[in-house]
Amino acid sequence: MSQPELSFHHLTQRLRLRELPVGEPSPDLWQRIADTHAGRVRRARMRRGIAGSSLAALVLIAVLVVPKWLAPAATERGVDWQARAQALELQLRALRDGTGAHDDAGAVEAQSEIARVDDALQTAYDTGAERDQLEVLWKRRSELLGALISVRQHHVEISRI
């Protein structure tokens, strides 16, 4: 014999299902929720603090260190000793043409030194020297030309007096 089937309406009446809810959560449940939330907020703040400190440290390192890394390169890029030497050469030539004066011993010595530097430059180019080595020689040549120009300018002033 098959068992009778009950409708849900009958079941709800028979079982009083509508009265089912069954109780209250623990009185301290909200406090547990609030505490858990507060803990999560604290941990999130801590993570943000750590991340912020790390970022600040990175920025500090970038501000302090990176310019030092870039400085030498900027200096090298900032002074083209070869071009400077060529400009000084023209300036010196103009001075020589303008005065027609004879060089003194110091100037002659400077010119000799410039000639030695020119030889060294030629050798450096012939042997495929590094850029740094060439820069050193062009810088030396510029310094010698500058000194020679100073001597000749001084000589011009004396002549005019």
């Binding site: 068992q3 009950l6 709800t12 079982l15 959560p25 449940l29 909200w30 547990r32 929720i33």
Partner: protein, 197 residues
């Protein structure tokens, strides 16, 4: 106390939340969340308890629901009553919990039959206790029953919730009701009949 459209005191998820409380909650005011919990903590708990059948699990789920509410309430735009919004979140959390349970597979027909076979209908202590009878149903069958018959979900909505077809939902519900009916009858038979004594 919040009232419903007929002027009667609203209960459960149908309670209305005043705009000020919502605004304070959306601004992160924990006292406002405490007020929301005092209104909806019990409905959430009962929904979870009816389906999960375990107080500790139900409380854990309520905690999860309210923590999620605290985190997401800013996304609530008021298109639906807050209670409906929260209820949807609660139901989704319960369904997710069921999906994660080891016995989630007991929704299929075989599992339902196993649950039926495991019930000792000759036990004289099996009094008509709605709660204990509900607990004899597999978790997903119980979920379908509770959501359809108590919370008013349609089969289409249940199908979407469970990621199944409507016929799946109807089938599970029909089997769950049949099983409950059988349990009621067997309980009646196992109880002494006063008229014969």
């Amino acid at each position: 106390m919040a009232m419903n459209d007929t002027g009667e005191p609203a209960a459960g998820f149908a309670q209305r939340v005043d705009a000020m409380t919502l605004a304070r909650a959306q601004a992160g005011d924990m006292q406002a969340f405490a007020a929301l919990y005092s209104m909806f903590g019990r409905p959430c708990f009962n929904l979870a308890l009816r389906i999960l059948g375990n107080r500790a699990q139900a409380e854990d789920l309520v905690q999860e629901i309210f923590l999620k509410t605290i985190g997401t309430i800013r996304s609530y735009r008021g298109e639906a009553p807050f209670g409906s919004w929260l209820k949807r979140m609660a139901v989704n959390a319960v369904i997710d919990q069921l999906r994660g349970q080891r016995h989630a597979a007991e929704t299929d027909s075989e599992s339902l039959q196993l649950a039926e076979a495991a019930t000792d209908s000759t036990n004289p202590a099996a009094v008509v206790d709605a709660w204990s009878l509900l607990q004899r149903l597999p978790a997903r069958a119980r979920a379908v029953l509770v959501l359809h018959e108590f919370e008013g979900y349609t089969h289409a909505e249940l199908a979407a919730l469970f990621g199944q077809s409507e016929s799946y939902s109807k089938s599970i519900l029909a089997r769950a009701l049949k099983r409950l009916g059988e349990l009621v009858v067997s309980s009646d038979e196992s109880m002494p009949c006063p008229s014969r004594n």
